[in-house]
C-alpha cells in the first residue's frame, strides 16, 4: 500500500479526521456541482418572497431580493475554495522562499531576511488588503495577495526553528561538504523535515483565509460586487439582522464548520505523516 493511501486511512480512522475529510470532500463536490447547476440561477429573484424562511422550494430561505440562499451559498463555495487554495499556494511558495533565505549560508541574505520578516510580520492583513485595494479595487486577487503575503511571513517565522534544526544536522553538513548546491540541500534534506509543521500551518492558513474573506468582503475590500462568496452571503444578511435573524445562521455556520474542518485536517495530517505517531507508515515506507 502506498504511503499516501496509508496516510489517508490513518486520517480517516480518527473521528476528527473523518469529519475533516467529509466536510472538505463535500466542499469540493458542491463547488464542482455549482459550476454546472444550482437550484436557482443566481440572478433569479422572487420579489414576492423576499426574506422567506426555509420552505420546500427554498430550503434555506431567500435573501433581501428574493434570491435563493442555498444557491448563493453553493456558488460561494467555489469562490472560497479558490481563495483558500490560491492562498495556500502563494503563502506556501512565499513562505518557503523566505525560509530558504533564513537558513542560507550567506550571512547577509540570512540576516536581511530575518530582519525583514520580523519587521513586516506585525502589519495586519486587512491593512495590506486595504492598501492593495486602492489602486486595484476590491477583488479576489487582492484577497489572495494580501493573505498569501501575510500568511507566508507567518509561515516563515513558525517554520524557521524546524528548518534551522534540520540545517544543523550531520546529514546536511556532510551533504554541503560533499559539494551539494544550496537549493538541492534545501529541497532534499530540509524540506522533508519541516513538512509536518508546514502542512499544519498551511491548513490553518486556508482556514484563516476564509475568515479573512468574510471580514474583508463585509468591509468592502473583499470579493468584487456581485461575486458570490460566503462572506458576501454573510454580509448581505447582516443588514436586516434584527428583522430576519435566521438568514445569518447558514453562512456563518458553513464558514465555521469549514474552518474547523481545515484545522482538524491539518492536525490529523500532521499526526498521520509523522512516522513517530503513525506506526503504519513505517511499514509502508
Amino acid at each position: 500500500m502506498s504511503a499516501a493511501r496509508v496516510v489517508m486511512r490513518s486520517m480517516w480512522r480518527k473521528a476528527s479526521g473523518k469529519y475533516a475529510l467529509i466536510v472538505l470532500g463535500l466542499w469540493v463536490l458542491v463547488s464542482l456541482i455549482s459550476l454546472v447547476w444550482t437550484p436557482y440561477a443566481l440572478l433569479e429573484t422572487d420579489g414576492f418572497h423576499a426574506w422567506a424562511s426555509p420552505t420546500a422550494a427554498h430550503p434555506l430561505g431567500t435573501d433581501g431580493v428574493g434570491a435563493d440562499v442555498l444557491s448563493w451559498l453553493m456558488a460561494g463555495s467555489r469562490t472560497n475554495l479558490a481563495i483558500a487554495s490560491l492562498t495556500v499556494v502563494v503563502a506556501g511558495i512565499f513562505g518557503l522562499a523566505l525560509v530558504a533565505a533564513m537558513v542560507s549560508r550567506h550571512t547577509a541574505l540570512r540576516s536581511t531576511s530575518v530582519v525583514v520578516v520580523d519587521a513586516l510580520i506585525s502589519i495586519p492583513t486587512v491593512l495590506i488588503a486595504l492598501m492593495l485595494s486602492v489602486p486595484f479595487g476590491a477583488s479576489t486577487a487582492v484577497i489572495v495577495a494580501a493573505c498569501g503575503f501575510a500568511y507566508g511571513l507567518n509561515l516563515a517565522r513558525i517554520v524557521r526553528p524546524a528548518a534551522i534544526l534540520a540545517a544543523r544536522s550531520q546529514y546536511v553538513e556532510s551533504a554541503v561538504w560533499s559539494g551539494a548546491s544550496g537549493s538541492r540541500v534545501f529541497v532534499r534534506h530540509i524540506m522533508p523535515n519541516v513538512m509536518p509543521v508546514l502542512l499544519v500551518q498551511l491548513s490553518m492558513s486556508a482556514g484563516t483565509s476564509i475568515l479573512a474573506e468574510a471580514g474583508l468582503t463585509y468591509l468592502g475590500v473583499g470579493v468584487g460586487v456581485g461575486v458570490p462568496s460566503w462572506g458576501h452571503s454573510l454580509a448581505t444578511s447582516v443588514r436586516f439582522i434584527s428583522i430576519y435573524p435566521l438568514t445569518v445562521l447558514w453562512p456563518g455556520l458553513i464558514v465555521t464548520m469549514t474552518v474547523i474542518a481545515l484545522h482538524l485536517f491539518g492536525d490529523a495530517l500532521r499526526d498521520a505523516i509523522d512516522p513517530l505517531t503513525n506506526p503504519e507508515l513505517r511499514e509502508a515506507a
Binding site: A119, S122, V134, A214, L216, L219, V221, I241
Partner: protein
C-alpha cells in the same frame, strides 16, 4: 543594550520603508490621482484645481518629502472630501478605537490564558477533550458572526436579554463613562472571543511543551505539586514565546476590530479608514493607513523588547538573538 539599539534601528528603517510603500501604493493608479479623487462627474477645471490644491502637480519625491515633513509636524493633510484637516478627526476617533482594542485584548487574555492553562493542568480526559473542542470552535467563528450572535442575544430592544447597546457610541464621548463603556462591551466580546481562542491554543501548546521539560520535573522534585510547578515554572518559562505570539494575535485582531466598528456603528479609526477608502479620499487614506500600520510596527517593537526582557538567557552575556531560539 546592543539588542535594543539594533531593534530600534530596525523599527525606524521599517517605518521609513512603510511610508514609501504606502505613498507609492496610492500613486499606482490607473489614471490620474486627481481625476479619481474628483469623481466621475468632475469638470476638467475642477480636476486641475484639485491637482494644484493637493500638490499633485509637483514631482513625486517632492510630494513624498512634503508629506513626511507634515507627518512629523502632526499635519496629516486635508481631506479632499470634507475639506477639514485629517488630524482633527483622528483624535475623537482614536478615543473610541484604542479603548476598544485594549478591552478586546483584555477579554482575549482573560479567556485564553486561564483556559489554556486549565487545559494542561487538568488530569481529567473529558475536560481536556472539552477544552480542545472549545479552542477549535472558538477559533473558527468569524468576528462578524459572533458579533451578530451577540447582538441577537444581548442588545437593547431586539435581543433576548437586552443588556447592552448595540449601535453607536454616545455623542459626548467619554464624559459618561458608564454609557461609553457599555457601548464597547459587545464589540469587544465579539473580537475578544476569537482572539481568545487563539491565545488559548497557543498557551496550551506552550505550557504542554513546558510540562515535559526537566525544569518542571525538578520543580516538582523540590516539593511543588504538579499544578504549582506548571504555573510557577512552566508558565514562566513559556512566557517569552507566549508574548511574541500574543503580539501577533493582537495584530490579527485589527480585522475583527474594523468589522466590529462597522457592525456596531462605532465612530472609530477603522470605519474612518474604510469610508475614506470608499470615497477615494487618497490624501486622508495615505496618512491614516500609515498611522495605523505604524501603530502595529510599534506594537511589534514593544513585543520584541518584552520577549527579550523576559528571557534571562538573552539578557546577560551575548546578544546573539538569532542563535538562541
Amino acid at each position: 543594550m546592543r539588542f535594543v539599539a539594533k531593534r530600534l534601528l530596525l523599527f525606524i528603517a521599517a517605518l521609513v520603508g512603510l511610508s514609501i510603500l504606502v505613498f507609492l501604493a496610492l500613486r499606482v493608479l490607473p489614471g490620474d490621482v486627481a481625476a479619481v479623487m474628483a469623481g466621475t462627474n468632475a469638470t476638467a477645471a475642477r480636476i486641475a484645481a484639485l491637482r494644484t490644491q493637493m500638490g499633485l502637480d509637483r514631482p513625486l519625491p517632492v510630494q513624498y518629502v512634503d508629506w513626511l515633513g507634515g507627518l512629523l509636524h502632526g499635519d496629516l493633510g486635508i481631506s479632499a472630501i470634507s475639506g477639514r484637516s485629517v488630524v482633527s478627526q483622528v483624535g475623537a476617533r482614536a478615543a473610541v478605537t484604542f479603548p476598544l482594542i485594549v478591552l478586546s485584548l483584555a477579554i482575549a487574555l482573560l479567556i485564553g490564558l486561564p483556559l489554556g492553562c486549565a487545559a494542561v493542568i487538568t488530569r481529567n480526559r473529558r475536560w481536556r477533550g472539552l477544552f480542545h473542542v472549545l479552542a477549535i470552535v472558538g477559533g473558527a467563528i468569524p468576528a462578524l458572526w459572533s458579533g451578530l450572535l451577540l447582538i441577537l442575544l444581548f442588545s437593547h430592544g431586539s435581543g433576548l436579554l437586552g443588556l447592552f447597546p448595540s449601535q453607536g457610541f454616545p455623542n459626548d464621548g467619554w464624559k459618561d463613562c458608564g454609557r461609553a463603556m457599555a457601548s464597547l462591551v459587545l464589540p469587544a466580546l465579539a473580537t475578544g472571543i476569537t482572539a481568545g481562542a487563539g491565545i488559548m491554543r497557543y498557551t496550551r501548546a506552550a505550557l504542554g511543551d513546558a510540562a515535559q521539560s526537566q525544569a518542571v520535573s525538578m520543580a516538582m522534585a523540590c516539593g511543588m505539586t504538579r499544578r504549582q510547578a506548571l504555573l510557577r515554572v512552566g508558565l514562566r518559562l513559556s512566557m517569552p514565546q507566549l508574548v511574541s505570539v500574543i503580539g501577533l494575535t493582537f495584530a490579527q485582531m485589527i480585522t475583527g476590530v474594523m468589522v466590529v466598528e462597522n457592525l456596531f456603528a462605532l465612530p472609530g479609526l477603522g470605519s474612518m479608514l474604510i469610508t475614506d477608502v470608499g470615497n477615494r479620499d487618497l490624501i486622508a487614506v495615505q496618512s491614516e493607513l500609515f498611522l495605523l500600520a505604524a501603530f502595529f510596527l510599534l506594537l511589534g517593537l514593544a513585543v520584541d523588547m518584552a520577549h527579550h526582557a523576559l528571557d534571562p538567557r538573552l539578557n546577560t552575556a551575548s546578544d546573539d538573538v538569532q542563535e538562541v531560539l
